[in-house]
Subunit: 467 residues, 3 copies
C-alpha cells in the first residue's frame, strides 16, 4: 500500500500553483465580465418605486422576490448540501465530495449567470438579473454536480473546474435550443439538467476510463457513518425536490401544481425502491446505495411534466416506475456498464439521473401531447404551453413532438460535449491521481491524523496506552 | 455473540418477499385510489385563471401556495430529517432510524392524503388537494413517527407499514371527531398529533413487551458521533417548530402569532431542560438524551394554544414547565414505566410527546376558556374560534369544555387503537427480530464491513498492518 | 493523562447547583419581564382585522409575516445549526459546541427581545413584537455565537451565559447608537454583529489568556468526521447568508438586491479561498480550516453594503478580497495573535468575522458616500438611506462619514465591553476547567463510553473478542 501511494505520488498531483492560478484568473475574468455586463433587473434595482408605478403594482409583494425566493433557497440547499453530502458515502472521500462540489458550484453559478444571461436576460447590452436568474444558475450547476457524480474520486479539482467551464457553456446552448428554438417546456429540467448532465458525465468518464481502478477497490466502499452523512444529502434532495421542480414555473397554479406532482411522485418512488432493493438481494436486506439514490428518481422523472396537468395519480405511476427502473439499474446495469462498456460511474448517475431523465422527457412529451382545452381550460391551455405569438397555432400534438425532439437534442449535445471535454481532461497536465490513489482525500487535502478510535477509548486505559 | 445472532436468525427476519409484496401492492392500491378520487384543488388546477376572476382576486399572490409553502417545506424537513435523525442516536441503528422513518412516512403521506381528503376535502366525489393537504398529510404522519419512537429497534419494516396503515386511519377519524364534531381548535396538534400519537405508540409497545430485551442492552446506548447525528434532528425540529404550529393557522395574524408563541416557548424550554438535566445528575453533567429531546417539549406544549392569544410570557411559562416535566420524565418516569408497567419506550416519547401533549391540550382548553372579546376584538374572537354558523352562540367557556373533551377522546382513541394494532403486530408473521438482535441494523440492512478505525490509521503503518 | 484529568477535576467544574440556579432564576426573570412588557404587535394580534381596515390593506399578504418569515427561518438555521455545527470541528468538543451554542442562543434571544424592544419597539409602556423582532433577536445572538468562537472549549456554560447577558446588553446599546443616533445603515450587520461581536470575543479571550493551553494541544485538532460535521455548519451559513443580509431590509427591491449581492460575494469568496489555501501550503493541499471558515468571509464583508447599489461585480470584488484576507489571516495572523499578543482564538474569528467585518464597514461607508440620485433614482435614494425627517438634508458624503464613525464606535464598544466582561469571567467562581481539560466534553457532559471501533468490527470476530 505504502509503495503504491509513493508510486502514485510520482504522478504529480500537487495543486500548489495550478489550482490557485486557475481560480484567481477565472475569478478575475468573472469580475471583468460582470463589470461589463451584469446589472440589477428592475425588481432588484433602486428604481423599483418608479417601476412599480409604471407597472401599476400596488404592493411590494408583487416583486418576483416573494414568489420565488423561498424556492430559490431550497434549490440552493439541494445544490450545495444535497449533492455535496450525497457524495460523501465514500469512506475516504468526504472532503473531496463536499469541498470540490462547493468549489465547482461556486464557480459555475457565476459563469452560468453570464452564459444564461446572454441568452435569456440580455437587454441593451446588459444582463439584467433577479432571483429567477439565481435559480437558473443553480439549476445549470446542478447538471455539473450530476456529471461530477460519474467521475467522483478520479479527477483533480482543476479538471472539475475545466469541466464546469465547458459544461455550463454547453448547457446554456442546449437550454437555448430547447426553450427558445424548439419552444419546449422543461421547468424541472428532466432534459436540460438531468438527461444532459448525466449523459455528459457518462461520456466524460467513458473517455477517462481507468483500466486499473480496481487498485483502489478498497476505498470505493462506504463506512457506517459515511452512509449516514450521505443520507443527509439524500433527504434534502428528496424533501426540497418539489421546490426544485416548481421554482421557475409560472406564478400561481403552475408552481402549486408542480410541487404537488413532485411530492406525490417522490413518495411513490420510495416504496418501489424499498421493494426492489429488498427483492433483489438474496437475504432480502435493504441496500443503502439504493435508498440513497433511487428514492430520488421520482423527482427527476416528473421534472418536465410536474407543472402540467399530470395529476396526482399520474405522478404516483411515474414515481413508482422510476424507482423500479433506478433500483434495477444499480443492481444490473452499473456492473454491466463498467465491465462491458468501460463506463466507470462512481455514484451511479446513470440510474439516478440518466434513465429517470429520459423517462421524464418522455412523460413530458406524452403529457403535453395529451393536453386538451377541456382539462386545462381555454386560458390555462395557452398559458401552460405559452401558445402565444408565433406559437399561437401550435397544437398539443405538435408540442409533444417538439418535446420529444428536445430529448434527442439533449442527448446529442451531451455525447458530443462529453467527448470533447473528456478529450481535454485526458491531457496529462491537470494533476489527476494515479489509479491506486483514487477515492482518497489525502491526495488533495490536509487530512487530520485521525486518532479517533483512540480518543474514544479514553475510558479504557489499557487501550489508550497502545498507540 | 455470534451464536446468539444465529439463534436470532432462526426467527425468520428475511424481508425478501414480504416487504416487496406489501410495498408494491399497497403502492398499487394508492395509484388506484388516487386515480379514482384525487384531483387538483382550484388553486393548483390549470383553470386557476378563471377561478381568480370568479373570486375577484387581483394577484397570483392570493394563491394559498404563497401563504403556506414555506411552512410546508419546514414541516417536511421536520418529518424526514427531524424525526429521522433524532432517532439515529443508537450506535448501531442509524440506517433503521432514518431509513424506516423514510419508508413509513412516504407511505403514510399518500394514505393520509386519501383518509384526510375523504373527511375534509371531499367534493362531488373527488378529493381536491392543495398545499394545505400536503401539510396535513405530513402532520398525520408525524404522529406515526412519534409512535415509531416507542418501538424503535424492535420491529420489522413490515410491522411499521402495518402500523402506519392503521394509525393514519385512526388519526383521521380522531381528527374528524375533534375538529368537525367537537369543533375544537388544535392547529399545532397537541391533541391530534402528540397526545394521540404518543399514547398510541406507548400502547403498542406495551402490547409488544419483550421480557428479554436486556439481551441487547449493549446496543441500546449511543456513541459519540451518533449523538451528534441525533442533534441534527433535534435542532431542525426545534428551529422549524414555529412553522409547524403556524402552518395551517388562518392567514395573517394567526400564523404570525403562532410562530411567535412557539419561538418563545421553545427558547424557555431549553433553559429549564439544561437546568434540570444538570441538577438531576450527581456530578452535575448534562445528559445528551435530555438535550436531544426535552428541549422540544416546549413546541409540543403550545401546539393547541399557539394560535390563540397565549401571549409571549404565557408561552415562556408553558415552555419552562414542559421542559422541567419532560426532563423529570426521562430521569424518573421512563425507568418506572419499563420496570413496573412493562412499557419499553426506546426514545422516551412519553416524556417528549405524551406528557407535553397533555399539557398542550390543557393549556389550550384554559386559553380558550379565558378568551374574551376584549382581548381578541369582536371580529378576532369570532375568527379565532370559528364561532360562525351553528357555532355562532358558543361561548369561550363552552369552547374550553369541548377542548378538554378533545383530550379525552384522543386518549381513548389512542388506547383502543394502540391495543388493536399492537395485537395485530404481535402475530408471528411480520418478521421481527429476536430480543438479542434488536437495535441492530444488520438484521434488515446491508451494513458496510467497517474498517473505519483501520482507514483512519493510514498514517501509522504498524496498525494498518494488523487486520 | 489520567492523572492530569484528576488534577484538573481538582478545579471544581461541577455545574450541579450553579448552572441550574442561573438558568432557572434568569428564566424566571424573563417571564416576569415579558409579563410586564412584551405584547404582540399589531400584525400578530387578534385585532389585526381592525388594523387591516384602518391601514386600508386589502390582503393578509400585506402582513409583514409573509415578507420576512422565510428569511427568519433561514437566519434561525444559521444561528443554531450554522454556528452550532461549524464549531463541532474539534475532535472531543462536539457536544459543547452544539449544546452550549444552543443554550446561550436560547437565553440570548429572550433577553435580546427585551433589550432591543426597549430601544426600538417600545410604545405606551409595552414592547410590541412581530417577526422582525425575532430576526433582530437572532441577529443579536449571532454576535454572541461569534464571540463564543474565540473562547470555544475554554469556558464553562455559566461563563457563556454571563457573557451572553452582558454582550446582548452592550450589543443593543451599540446598535441603538449606530442605527438611531448616527443614522447608519447596517442591514447585514458588518459593524453591529461581526465587528462588534468578534472584537468583543477577542478581547474576552485576551483577558482570559491561558498560558498553559498547550497542555490540551492534543485535543485542539479535528478528526475526519468532525470536519464533516463542521462542513454542515459552513454550508448552511454559506447558503443562507443571502437571507441573513436581506432579512430586515426594506420590502421589495432592497431585499431582492441584498440577496443577489450576497450570493455573488459568497461565490467569489469560495474561489479565492481555495486558491490561497492551496497556494500557502507547501504541497498545495487544501486545508479544511480555510474551507470551513474563509469561504464565509464574503457574506460578512457585504453585510453593510448588500442592500445598497453595490452591483454584482462590486460584490465579486469584495468577496474575492475578503476570501484572500481571511485565508491569509488563518495562515499568518492567528499564530501571531497567539504567540505575540496572547490572544487565543479557537475558531479564528479574527479571520472570519473581525477583519471581514471591518472590510464590510468600510465598503459600506464607501458605497454610501458614492451613492447618487442618478444610480438610485430620486425616490430610491431617499428610501435607501432613509433621508427623511431630520435627515432630509443629509448628503451621501456625510452618510459615508457617519458610516465610518459607526465602525469606530463598534470597535470601542467591543474593546471596552470585552474588557469588562473578560474581567468578570476571570473571577474564580464560574467553574471553568483547568488548561489540561480544555476542549474536552467530558468535563460538562455525560459522554458515552464509546466502543465504536469495536462495534464496527462485528464482522471480524477475532477483534470483537478483544474488549
Amino acid at each position: 500500500l505504502r509503495m503504491e501511494r509513493h508510486q502514485g505520488m510520482a504522478k504529480n498531483t500537487s495543486m500548489r500553483w495550478r489550482l490557485p492560478l486557475v481560480c484567481l484568473l477565472w475569478e478575475l475574468a468573472m469580475i471583468v465580465l460582470f463589470g461589463a455586463f451584469v446589472r440589477f433587473g428592475a425588481e432588484a434595482d433602486a428604481h423599483w418605486e418608479e417601476e412599480k408605478r409604471q407597472m401599476n403594482l400596488t404592493s411590494d409583494m408583487e416583486n418576483d422576490f416573494y414568489f420565488r425566493y423561498p424556492s430559490f433557497q431550497d434549490v440552493h440547499v439541494m445544490i450545495f448540501v444535497g449533492f455535496g453530502f450525497l457524495m460523501t458515502f465514500l469512506k475516504r472521500y468526504g472532503f473531496g465530495a463536499v469541498g470540490f462540489n462547493f468549489l465547482l458550484a461556486a464557480f459555475g453559478i457565476q459563469w452560468a449567470l453570464l452564459m444564461q444571461g446572454w441568452f435569456h436576460s440580455f437587454k441593451d447590452g446588459k444582463i439584467l438579473i433577479g432571483v429567477e436568474n439565481l435559480i437558473n444558475a443553480d439549476f445549470c450547476v446542478g447538471s455539473v454536480c450530476i456529471a461530477f457524480g460519474a467521475i467522483l474520486g478520479k479527477t483533480s479539482p482543476i479538471q472539475l473546474l475545466v469541466m464546469t467551464l465547458f459544461q455550463v457553456t454547453l448547457f446554456s446552448v442546449n437550454e437555448y435550443i430547447l426553450l427558445n428554438l424548439l419552444h419546449v417546456k422543461d421547468a424541472g429540467g428532466s432534459m436540460t439538467i438531468h438527461t444532459f448532465g448525466a449523459y455528459f458525465g457518462l461520456t466524460v468518464t467513458w473517455i477517462l476510463y481507468r483500466p486499473n481502478l480496481e487498485q483502489s477497490k478498497d476505498k470505493q466502499g462506504s463506512v457506517y457513518h459515511s452512509d449516514l452523512f450521505s443520507m443527509i444529502g439524500t433527504l434534502y434532495l428528496w424533501m426540497y425536490w418539489p421546490s426544485f421542480n416548481s421554482a421557475i414555473s409560472d406564478h400561481g397554479d403552475a408552481q402549486h401544481r408542480s410541487a404537488i406532482n413532485t411530492y406525490c411522485s417522490l413518495a411513490a418512488c420510495v416504496l418501489t425502491t424499498m421493494a426492489f432493493s429488498s427483492m433483489l438481494q438474496k437475504k432480502g436486506k435493504l441496500d443503502m446505495v439504493h435508498i440513497q439514490n433511487a428514492t430520488l428518481a421520482g423527482g427527476v422523472a416528473v421534472g418536465t411534466s410536474a407543472e402540467m396537468m399530470l395529476t396526482p395519480y399520474g405522478s404516483l405511476i411515474v414515481g413508482s416506475v422510476s424507482g423500479i427502473v433506478s433500483t434495477l439499474g444499480y443492481v444490473y446495469f452499473t456492473p454491466f456498464l463498467e465491465s462491458r462498456l468501460h463506463i466507470q460511474d462512481t455514484c451511479g448517475i446513470h440510474n439516478l439521473h440518466a434513465m429517470p431523465g429520459l423517462i421524464g422527457g418522455i412523460v413530458g412529451a406524452i403529457t403535453a401531447a395529451a393536453a386538451t382545452e377541456d382539462v386545462y381550460g381555454k386560458e390555462g391551455f395557452i398559458k401552460a404551453f405559452d401558445f402565444t405569438g408565433e406559437y399561437e397555432t401550435r397544437t398539443a400534438g405538435v408540442q409533444g413532438g417538439f418535446q420529444a425532439a428536445g430529448i434527442v437534442v439533449s442527448l446529442l449535445m451531451a455525447f458530443a460535449g462529453g467527448a470533447l471535454v473528456g478529450g481535454i481532461l485526458k491531457l496529462p497536465i491537470w494533476g489527476d491521481a494515479a489509479a491506486e490513489n483514487c477515492f482518497e482525500d489525502d491526495v488533495y487535502w490536509e487530512v487530520p491524523e485521525d486518532e479517533e478510535s483512540d480518543v474514544y477509548r479514553m475510558h479504557s486505559p489499557s487501550k489508550a496506552a497502545s498507540p
